[in-house]
């Protein structure tokens, strides 16, 4: 039985957003593979894959705005903004921990709290993911959904092949991110502790 203290790190709206987003991502990735590799994958017809991809895509976009409204509304968006003072040194500390300290049983240099949930490395990654990659993916996905309707914007961006390149590269990055994210989630005090925390809201320290 663990003797750590319990912290309420993940409020209900964050957990609901997270799991909707996670299932949306999985769905978009699977249908994305089917759409791109129709000659080798055949787990659903292409029209079905495209329809699901479109509907789920809109779900993820709506969910993003729920997330944005929540974090802007509560002011908690600051947890995504790295502290410029000594930030690089803190990132280096965190990298050293993941690259060495975690193997030899050192303590995580970052102490998690509801107000300071992300370590400097997470802050950097989530800042880019949530404020650059995801909006870029949503925008490129929206244009690809109705290519004639948004033709002028697509032409301004250099044509549909470039737009597709952005969407596809981000798709690969998100797929890779999902794998690494799930793996990092096993780095809690037990392998399943962080998964449980994201379900109950409470994390043991």
């Amino acid at each position: 039985m663990s003797k750590g203290r319990l912290l309420y790190n993940y409020p209900l709206p964050v957990r609901v957003w997270h799991w909707i987003n996670a299932s949306g991502f999985v769905c978009l990735i699977l249908t994305g593979f089917q759409i791109r590799y129709a000659e080798v994958l055949n787990f659903m017809p292409l029209t079905v894959a495209i329809s699901i991809h479109n509907y789920v895509g809109f779900g993820v976009i709506a969910n993003f705005f729920v997330w944005l409204s929540y974090y802007l509304g509560t002011g908690n968006v600051k947890i995504y903004i790295p502290d410029s003072r000594g930030w690089l040194a803190l990132v280096w500390e965190q990298l050293k921990y993941y690259g060495y300290g975690v193997f030899v049983g050192k303590h995580n240099p970052h102490l998690m709290s509801p107000e300071n949930k992300f370590n400097p490395l997470q802050q950097l990654v989530y800042l880019v993911v949530m404020f650059v990659f995801l909006p870029a993916q949503m925008m490129s996905g929206l244009f690809l959904w109705q290519i004639k309707k948004y033709e002028e914007y697509i032409n301004l961006l250099g044509g549909i092949k470039l737009l597709d390149t952005i969407h596809v590269l981000l798709f690969f990055l998100f797929t890779s991110f999902l794998v690494i994210h799930c793996y990092f989630a096993t780095l809690g005090h037990t392998p399943l502790a962080r998964f449980k925390a994201m379900l109950t809201g409470f994390e043991e320290h």
Binding site: I35, R36, Y37, A38, E39, P45, L46, T47, I50, S51, N54, Y98, V102, F103, V104, G105, L144, W145, Q146, I147, K148, K149, N155, G158, G159, I160, K161, L162, D164, T165, V168, L169, F171, F172, L173, T175, S176, F177, V179, I180, C182, Y183, T186
Partner: protein, 374 residues
Amino acid sequence: MKKNYHFTVRYGLYIILTCSVLCPSPLAAVDNSECFECHSDEGLTTESTDNILQIEITESLYVDEDTFDKSIHNLIGITCVDCHADIEELDWNEEVPHARRLEKVHCVSCHEDAGEEFKNSVHMKMRTKGITMTCYACHGYHYVRQMEGASVAERTNSICLKCHNPNQFHEWLPSGDAHFAHVECVVCHAPEVPRHIDLRFYDLITMRFYKGDELIKIIGTNFDKIIQTIDKNHDQIIGMNEFDDLFFMLKQKNIRPILRAELVADINSIAHQISRESAQKTCEMCHASDSPYFNAVSIILIRDDDTVERYKIDRAILESYYVSHFYLLGGTRIKRLDKIGLLIIAGGACAALGHLIIRVLTIPLRRGKKENDD
């Protein structure tokens, strides 16, 4: 095996023409100019019955001579009375110098193959509902154009869209308007018809297609020599490296075109074989990188007289950024991105797996440290 439609029509007509020259008949006596004596009058009309709606209409008998002169039939030497074959001679003493009501023109007399293909089409079946679809309901009467170099918009606007609204019955089709803009209707609706991708040079700044003669002038060659200029290894197909060279040559002359692609049907009688059951609805037929729909890809240059010069090019061009405005999901995907994607995903997975393995291997180390700490 079906006869080549183009071959049949062209050479069939040459034979007819040759025969008519060698064996003069009363028909030869009627010249087009005599017909235009009356039919160039825009006010010339007759009362008639609409073929489809079966209602009385006032039908214009005016023929625009300039447009007729550019029609494919005139260009290959077909005269008015070759089609209106019941006019043997003109009697200028009469108000109307020929029979007031002429017999229907039987296009299938020449276009035999097209007639055969049409027999089992959905348009023929309309007759059971009392609607007769004639050839000229789609193709028009006197202004049938040479369509080989026509764009999708020109092809569909002048034929299918006269009756059909593409937004009906296509609700299931994702990005319908993009399909309608780049794919000719019969490619899906007569799936047996041979088809090909036409690529044309397009200038994004002036937003217009380059004319064939214009490009030839820019490159500094002529139509007879252009293929030797581009196809350096003389294998009768423009390879990617050869196209790179051509593009570089254009760039040096301050020309930076893109290639606009369209999926169109060959001018082939099989295009008439349209049936409700056979319409292609399997998206994977096109949207897969091994699609048979892209086996024939050509750059086309259209001469000033509307004739088309076609140069085969490696289908890999569709998977390049040169064709930046034609996107068929997996069908024209850029393969280099797949390799980058594999690196990104495999990199992430390997990093996670490697970290996990080291974590497992170092369990004794952490256990020892914990025991020491306790």
